[in-house]
Amino acid sequence: MMPSATNATRMNLPWSRFLGRHLTLATGAGILGLFLMVALTAPLIAPYDPIFQNADVRLLPPALAHPFGTDNFGRDILSRVIWGARIDLQIAVIGVVFPFLIGTFVGTVAGFFGGIVDAIFMRLVDIILAFPFLVLMLSIIAILGPGLSSFYIAMALVGWVSYARLIRAQILVLKNSDYALAAVSLGFSRTRIMFRHLLPNAIAGSLVFSMSDAVLVLLNGAAISYLGLGVQPPVAEWGVMVAEGQSFITTAWWITLFPGLSIVVLAFGFSLLGDGLGEWLGVRE
């Protein structure tokens, strides 16, 4: 008796009360929004050129002129962190969107049709899962040559499996629901049943998962760049910056700390958003 009442009020809630009730969602969205703003306005707010080297100001600790300090080439860390937001947000988004789309499509089709289609796709999933994730990523990037686009392609080739499995499991349950049966009995086409009736009801779980996946992709991207296979220096990217700073970690901690912190906070924002989305979409109900 309760859910109907709360659901009805949820729809026409004023914005402020909506946020009050979904604090996790609001905080997560806030953090991401902030990073997005920073990334978009990078040329305006960054105090220095991120790749300009100035030998006079090498390895300066944080001070008023350089709030986050400078690195061994005399580049301003704050500016590099701000510009890095562009790359890292791009990594998190593109690294998730393509696996998400591919996985959702494959999962829906495999779950809906079952039989031989399902068997082929699921064995493919098993094969991909049989390799350690990073090993597979690294070999694909090694074949394609280092760079961000190779990273995205590798992500798309490997990352879709989790989405496919999530969606497929949901579709398998939903395709036996009465409304799916009703749709068949009303003469709806299979495409319509799959994508208009089943998928919207199946997708909530993987939408939530995609947020925590964005965190993993972000860390993966950083790791790949750290290994020298992703973003190439001197481009400012947090993973690269952490890698560059590691040899100075005992003497100039600020080089690693600030980009590292940015990764953590952005990841935190994504997971909050994921949790909040889950609450809001009622995945845990």
């Binding site: 008796m1 208009r196 009801n201």
Partner: protein, 563 residues
Amino acid sequence: MSEPVLSIRSLTVQAQLDGETRTLIDAVSFDLGKGEILGLVGESGSGKSMICRALVKLLPSKTIAITGGSMLLSGRDLVQLNEAAMRSVRGADIGMVFQNPTSHLDPVMRIGDQIAEGIRYHQGKSRSEAKAAAIDILGQVGFPDPARQYDNYPHELSGGMRQRAMIAVALSCNPEILIADEPTTALDVTIQAQILKLLMDLRDSRGLSIILITHDLGIVAQTCDRIAVLRHGQLLELGDKRRVLSAPQHAYTISLLDSHPSMPEEGGPITAEAVIDAPPVRPLLEIDDLVVRFPTPGLGLFKGGRKHIAAVNGVSLRVMPGETVGIVGESGSGKSTLARAILGLTPLSSGHISFDGLDLAQQRKQTLAQIRTQAAMVFQDPYNALNPRLTIGETLAEVLQVQNKVPTSRIPERINELLDLVGLEREFATRRPRAMSGGQCQRAGIARALAVDPKMIIADECVAALDVTIQAQIIDLFRELKSIMNLTLLFIAHDLAIVRDLCERVVVMYRGEIVEEGLCADVFARPQHPYTAALIAAIPDIDPDKPLLRRLPGQAVPHLLTA
């Protein structure tokens, strides 16, 4: 009445929601005597389950709390007890039986151990003593071979036996009070009668006091001593069963009684409208020796090693245009499979189905197209049958658009017509199923079926999940629609009284076969097959002077699942 075992005084339960206080139970007072069966009657949302949860202080949410009143159980006020003290009350003093035994029994624990667990915990007995006691209780609740069945897991038992096991768990600590929350709603009528008889026997043999929560007045009339009628958390009427049933005081009780689809006297006046007035024309639906088989679960490792079960086994049936045919039978009798086969949703193993002259087995594609545009189905669970993400308007619009029977420009108008037809306000077009009640949802489901502009509607247990008063409304709606549009209706139900009420002809299914078929009036007055007779006898009558148990035959016809 002797000294009451339990005495509830102005019990109030309130919920805090968004700063508002909602009163769920409004100052309810009643006593429960020793060895008494008290029936709590009301629709869903009336607070009958909430009272019982408050009794054991297991309220469903932290925002809900007992805010006033007292609950005296043998001198102690349960409202004042803390959680630790309550734990010794639950099970030991008050046992509970729930509607769905499947979800309330631990699936990975032997049923005997589930019973013995409570005995060891509450009575401090040793393992072997507890086992002996558990076997004894299993025998009392009607397990034929308790020592062996002690080791069964819940999934190995039928629904009825599971409910018996659930009762055994509740009884394990010898409680004074048993709360039974819709204990038979999920069961077939014949099994329901057995469980009710068991509860009454236990009352007699143990002096148990029982609070029986139900929406079925027939059950109350058959088993209870006193009746409490609840609505919106208020106790509207409380009194002796006979008094309440024969001379109800409150208007709501009267409407509840009126909506009960009771069976008329056997051989009593038969309404003559049942005669089909149409001249013998070509049947709309013709089923000839239909067989639908399903493979049994498990791997078919060897060729031909996989067994098949015939869910529908040699059914023949003819339905004329404009006719209303009821299909009755217990769960597992194959009636839903038959419905799905007719709509081409399940492959046929052998036999023929022809719809409006086209044969489904021979001209499959053509016939399916015909069926999809001229037949529609209404489902049992209205919430599950509508896409939760679409508004009712979107759902209807989609059907109209796909079926292409109405020009696009006229779709909004047609949606309004459909909503009018099923008695829903037009503003429901913008609502989603979850923001509607069960009855409203079912009306929307019927509107969707009507959007097809069908010649035939198949309603599969479409009122089984609804409250009695809503059931009556939906049945009335069907009757009205039938008269307006010359609709052919296949009405599948396990509730014989409803079928008797609505249908002209009835088909009785048992184990995938039709065992009896004929005009409703004839079949119900003079059942030919023993199974039909058993089904009819098992319906709890609203008249307490027609006892259920006397009419209950022995094990002449085994139930599908226990056999």
